[in-house]
């Protein structure tokens, strides 16, 4: 493989991985608080359509991103209300969120099908960083939303592992009853991080409709929200590993896309299956390892917290 092709594939891995990364980071924060949200796909779709609609209306992609955050956050708020306040089944509520989000995005998006976005996110170079041989073209020839993740990932890592709010977050996800007895508001923290998760998923969706493939198509996330949920398990709820995992997925996506250019004569349908098979494979491997090393999910993940029952 020539060096140019390798660079192209690695650079594409980053852009293809970025929407998954945003969604996965959101789900990491949500699950850290002990709430499982399977509605990522729905939140991403709502983010994609609201981002696209606002970017068209205002001609400013950043306002689109803002709208996507609000859209994803509002979706997550429904989930938070149902699962935190009403203690509803988290799996079913998440599925409902995906079904609702699919419908809502199709409903809003109907009048936007086939319209190209005039002002989308375009690659920008970052001075000397972009001139570094090999690494520059891979990491620093992207749009601003990619650069945001370079800052966001270490920030979230620091937040989770090195700060007081991060400690509270982990305590709530691990053992809400004892966090509560120490005066940490379980309900408030869960609301905050579920909504934050939705906002990040919303940006992930907007990345698809405003940067990766600047247009709106029904169901354009094509399962990336679910891949993000799977990735969180692979990442063992750690933002740095989520970044690494997202780029692997992005790379597989990119390979499928480029394979025909590289002379691989496999029908494109099979290449498109790769990320889904890879997700299953990764889940099996991770689960085996987790069983051996006893690396587990947040202790209270998926369980409602009822103050009167502690």
């Amino acid at each position: 493989m020539s060096q140019e092709l390798l660079i192209t594939i690695l650079a594409t891995a980053i852009t293809a991985g970025t929407p998954i990364l945003y969604a996965a980071l959101g789900e990491v924060m949500t699950e850290r608080s002990g709430i499982l949200n399977l509605g990522v796909e729905g939140m991403m779709l709502v983010g994609a359509v609201s981002g696209f609609a606002f970017a068209i209306k205002t001609n400013d992609p950043w306002l689109g991103v803002l709208a996507a955050m609000l859209g994803g956050g509002a979706m997550a708020l429904i989930h938070a209300f149902l699962t935190v306040t009403l203690q509803a089944n988290q799996v079913v509520s998440g599925l409902a969120l995906t079904i609702f989000g699919t419908g809502l995005s199709g409903f809003i998006g109907k009048s936007y099908i086939g319209i190209p976005v005039v002002n989308s996110f375009k690659p920008v170079t970052l001075g000397f960083l972009s001139d570094i041989p090999f690494l520059g073209p891979i990491f620093f020839h992207h749009d601003y939303l990619v650069y945001v993740t370079y800052l966001l990932v270490p920030t979230l890592w620091f937040l989770i592992y090195r700060t007081r709010p991060g400690l509270n977050l982990r305590a709530v996800g691990e053992n809400p009853a004892s966090a509560d007895s120490l005066g940490v508001s379980v309900y408030r923290i869960r609301y905050i991080y579920v909504i934050m998760g939705g906002m990040l998923a919303g940006i992930g969706g907007a990345y698809l409709s405003l940067a990766y493939a600047p247009t709106w198509l029904e169901n354009m996330t094509a399962g990336r929200g679910w891949i993000a949920v799977a990735l969180v398990i692979f990442a063992t709820w750690n933002p740095l590993r989520a970044m690494f995992g997202s780029y692997i997925f992005g790379g597989i996506d990119a390979l499928g896309f480029r394979a025909q250019a590289m002379g691989v004569m496999i029908p494109s349908f099979f290449l498109k299956m790769l990320p889904y098979f890879f997700t299953i494979f990764v889940l099996i491997m991770v689960t085996r390892k987790a069983m051996a090393n006893r690396v587990g999910s947040p202790g209270a993940l998926g369980l409602p917290y009822d103050r009167e029952e502690r």
Partner: protein
């Protein structure tokens, strides 16, 4: 002051009132979105027009014998997939792969129909049923194996296989199975008459309805009377208690995942044979996903599932019937999602009683 008090058992009134209220609120939600959506049109919209849309949906779904038969036609795959999903849910297995299992069932049946076209109907149809059941069942079993032996999260693996199955069907209808006389549409050759499931009377309602009714009755008895039904219920409530009691959880997971997929596969067989009468792209408008709602709304009770399928079938037919007046068909999915939200939210009234208390003095 308002206070929640835990109930020992759900009240009968709640079990009837909650679903009715949820349906009402979901329709109101849909109406609000229709109204907001209408405001962006040049002429704006009145609430009267919103209700006219709903009236049009009702009219389209049950207002004529044609509408009614279309509603039943849409309800059949929902019934079969919903019954399949419900037995997995009973064991706390979140099989959300009915969509893929449906596609694989349709694939299996179509493979038989296209490759053995000379067979007479009385051999052909049973073979197609068998192929649909086996292919759907295997597609359910595949994620069941890592779940049973390693505890791999089945929610995600079943869902990933949906995309794989849909891509597989698309590969066939765009590639090797494409009908040369199909004007370049992604369709297979039409099936021979011997491969087409008979209809009931003069309508499009087909024999799949009989499959669904028989399976529902059978499941109802099996869950109530058989040892298998007892084990499924116990494992669903507490797998730890079940393993103490010496039940084989691994075997039960594999069996339930196979059966769950097999029913969705049978739905795929019936749809491809009776309705499409050939393999084609987009053979399911999301039956497998709607089945999740069907199973949950039906509280995993086989007969309730039949009834809920009819309701959601009517919603789908109604949604299509108003599409011509510019209402996006996606509103059907929206109302379905909202319905599930309200049911979930309403369940708190089953678990808790709301008690009003005057300002009581703090005693003791």
């Amino acid at each position: 002051m308002i206070k929640l008090e835990r109930r020992s058992a759900p009240s009968l009134a709640g079990m009837i009132l909650i679903p009715l209220t949820a349906i009402f609120l979901a329709l109101i939600t849909g109406a609000i979105f229709l109204y907001i959506n209408g405001l962006t049109s040049p002429k704006g919209i009145t609430w009267g027009q919103v209700f006219a849309v709903y009236f049009g949906m009702l009219e389209g779904a049950v207002g004529s014998s044609y509408g009614l038969s279309e509603t039943i036609v849409k309800a059949i795959p929902l019934m079969l997939c919903g019954l399949g999903v419900s037995i997995a849910f009973r064991m706390q297995l979140w099989n959300i792969g009915a969509e893929g299992q449906f596609h694989m069932g349709a694939f299996g049946a179509a493979w038989v129909a296209l490759n053995f076209s000379h067979l007479p109907a009385y051999v052909m149809l049973p073979l197609m049923v068998l192929a649909g059941i086996i292919c759907g069942g295997i597609w359910g079993l595949l994620p069941g194996i890592p779940r049973a032996y390693l505890g791999v999260n089945e929610t995600i693996t079943t869902l990933m296989l949906n995309y794989v199955a849909i891509l597989w069907v698309n590969y066939l209808v765009f590639g090797p199975w494409k009908d040369p006389q199909g004007m370049n549409f992604p369709l297979s050759k039409p099936f021979e008459p011997s491969a087409i499931l008979p209809t009931l009377g003069n309508s499009r309602v087909h024999f799949g309805l009989v499959f669904a009714l028989v399976i529902a009755v059978f499941l109802w008895f099996a869950l109530r009377q058989s040892r298998w039904g007892y084990e499924v219920t116990v494992i669903g409530e507490s797998s730890r208690a079940a393993s103490y009691a010496g039940m084989n959880i691994t075997k039960n997971i594999l069996m339930v995942m196979f059966l769950s997929g097999a029913m969705a596969g049978l739905a795929g067989m019936a749809e491809v044979s009776a309705i499409a009468q050939r393999m084609q792209q987009g053979i399911s408008p999301g039956y497998g996903y709607t089945a999740i709602i069907v199973a949950w709304l039906g509280k995993l009770n086989p007969f309730a599932i039949l009834f809920v399928s009819f309701l959601l079938g009517a919603l789908q037919v109604g949604g299509y019937s108003v599409q011509s007046s510019g209402v996006p068909a996606a509103i059907v999915f929206m109302i379905q999602g909202a319905l599930l939200f309200f049911i979930l939210g309403g369940e708190i009234f089953n678990r808790y009683k709301i008690v009003y208390r005057g300002k009581t003095k703090m005693e003791v």
